[in-house]
Amino acid sequence: MRRVVITGIGIVSPLGLTRETTWQRVVAGERAAGPITSFDASGWRTNFLCEVRGFKLEPEAAPAGHALHINRATAFGLQAALEAMTDSGVVGHVDADRLGVSVGVGIGSVDPSELTRMMKGIDVANAIQDLARQLEQQQDKDLVLKNHPATMAHLLSYRWRALGPQSTINTACASSGQAIGQALHGIRRGDADVMLAGGADSLAGVLYLAAFCLLGAVSVRNDDPKAASRPFDKGRDGFVASEGAAMVVLEEREHALQRGATIYGELLGYGDTGNAYRVTDLPEDGSGIILAMEEAARDGGVDLGKIDYINAHGTSTPLNDRIEAMAIDKVFTSRGFSPLVSSTKSSIGHLISAAGGVELAFCALSVRDQIAPPTCNLDVTDCSQTVNFVAKEAKPHRIRCALSNLLGFGGSNATLVVGDAGGDHGVV
């Protein structure tokens, strides 16, 4: 079997516009949440989130001639890809038809200025037809591409001349985890030698955040936003919306070794399952995520005992965290293993469709630096008492393999396992 390693990482997050800045601040236990600055949410049930600030898309990150097709999330993705591709040094070392793209994307959101422009002069009583005609009259065909989920993958393909396989996936919070998992399969299979994989999303939109408020899924701790994302803590009351992107360069191991690439770690295994339960809930027995973790380990030929760190999905919602902790207990603790567990959503919030990319990147960096980042705000847990949570402060530790869980709204689960670069992980 062809083995797959990570040779480049790029991150844009509310804690930094680069990989290392973000990672250092996550390890330091910084928390990004704060009052919303991108629009006025005064009086809202939730009026804070984790925003990316000071961001400017570098011209070289985007293909020429497509500026009008780039929305906020896509800009994050393009920038993260530039950092990842530059970091990997793979440009010039891979044939165009052996380079592919696989990304997870969000639902997107039309911003207020667009809404206002689009709605001008319409007949509210017949809004949808008139709005559509308005769009036609405005001759604004760029809006079509700007807000289409497939656009980011297309633009990455144009920019990096990636003529290999291409995927765009939306399975909510599991999106970029699945995108990375399918990229792993593609390289193993021989469809590509290098895949640019990850995801981007932005919940910093009026409609997006209002929708999650309406669902009652986000924290309402308006008086103390930095304390709001508290995965596994008994005081948790919902997730904290966020935005950003992470892209990784996945490369066939021999290809990477031959060109002398720096290797962060080896992407060992991927498991994906479905809950087949309810659109917004997990089954109480945690069966879907249990199977995903077991399948990822099996897929990678990884002994569960070698998984020393778990970057949990840990959204800070009451149900998710309780069931995920129980599932970790069943898979690991009950078998005598005690990996460190943390949720970095406590630092950077929930990036939804980009969460898989960011958290896989954190796993790779935890393997590189041999340190487990903390779960901020975890004072007292009401989840499984036997899970080995990393609370408040990062913990230096021997980390041979790290596992990332993604549990999607709608029932899709994805789990990825990454191992240290020099490890003999038993892949045959």
Binding site: D40, S42, W44, D97, R98, G100, I107, T116, M119, K120, V124, N126, A127, I128, Q129, L131, A132, R133, L135, E136, Q139, K141, L145, H148, P149, A150, T151, H154, S157, Y158, L163, G164, P165, Q166, S167, T168, I169, N170, Q182, H185, R189, G190, D191, V206, A210, A211, C213, L214, D272, T273, G274, N275, A276, Y277, R278, V279, L291, F409, G410, S412
Partner: protein, 442 residues
Amino acid sequence: MASSKVSERREVVVTGIGMMTPLGDQPADILRRYHAGESAFREITLYATRGSAIKYAGEHAAPDLKRLPDRKNGKILNRRDATSVLAAMTAFKAARLDEAKYEPHRLGMFVGSSCTHLGDLTPTLPLVAKHADFAGGRFDSAAFGLEFMETLNPILVLKLLMNNAVCFGTISLQIKGVNSNFMQQEVSGLRALGEGYLAIAEGRADAVLAGGTAQPVEPFQIYEAHHCGWLADQTVPGFVPERAARPYDQTANGTIFSESTAFLVLEDGVKARARGATILGRVCGFGIAGEGEPDSARPDGPATGVVRAFKAAMTQAQTTIEKLGAVYGNGSGIAVSDLREGLAMRMVLGDRLGEVPFCSVKGGLGDTAEAHGAVSTALALAGVTQGVVPATRNFATPPSALVGLQLASTTQTLKQPLTAIVSRSRFGVSAVLLVEAATPGR
């Protein structure tokens, strides 16, 4: 580099189909009606078209929400997603998967879906208008959000989720294994079938429901497509919707949209035969490739992604172009797209250019967008069974660059069962799936 482990791949067969198109819900019947020249198009009834240049499209029958296992879901699912769930259930039942003894986690589901309908945002629009200061170009997001949260039903939000087809499909059929939801425009449905094929071939699932769904007969998508120049002009004197889309014809000037959904049950061949399933055909290869540019960047050049996707699919199938019996193209009547695809097919077919029947069903069925790959695959399997390649309706004379392709306005004979289905997006990605008749006893 060739694909690895080809010899270790499991055989993947098709054992069930569920679909919904403007020409019916059974592949053989759809082909019969297609060949009989029945019209898939009518005046749009799904929304008021007053003042619009586009008044005709293909609409299928309304989904029967009473068939949903949980009728409450009928309130959450939009027309596209409800049709998807019902088509998936039909395929599941046709394959008798409900009687099979598969573990739920060995069953998978892959969907190629269109994006959220802006039309589903309708309930929010009066609020947007109320809180917009059009003269000043400002929007009172605070007041909007407060009223949004106080007056709207959370079901609105659930309706907007783009992964509802896979979510409610897996819930309805208790599918707990591999899954995904692809959003790659016209390539989506074929991408889903390809991933389903690979999941079984590589041992990650025993059976998979895979397909595509699209409901482009929606005001935003219609208007957007019209504005982008993708739709045939319906305002010309004497316009006849049945003549609107003319794939690969020199007079092509756009397409006509149709809503459609198709799901196929893909299954491990050994296990399917062991349980006595009816084998409708085999899937034997899949390839997908980016093109690095949109059609608009090179309007008169070949879509090289098609060439690379073909090569990948052929390699997987361990076959050669000499074995190819027919190609179901993406041709929609959008001149640039059809030209680029046709030029790529010239490169793919080489010396066999004049021997391999090439067709598109979009002239008679309409442009089924994200569902295209799955719809064409279902029809291709029916064609393999009947030994025919469908006519390309409305095709008469190709542009000079496409002379030589075996296009015909009448039914052609299928001489070799290996059939390729091509899907491509005008924004630079192409996919190819290979299917053939099942080999008895393999």
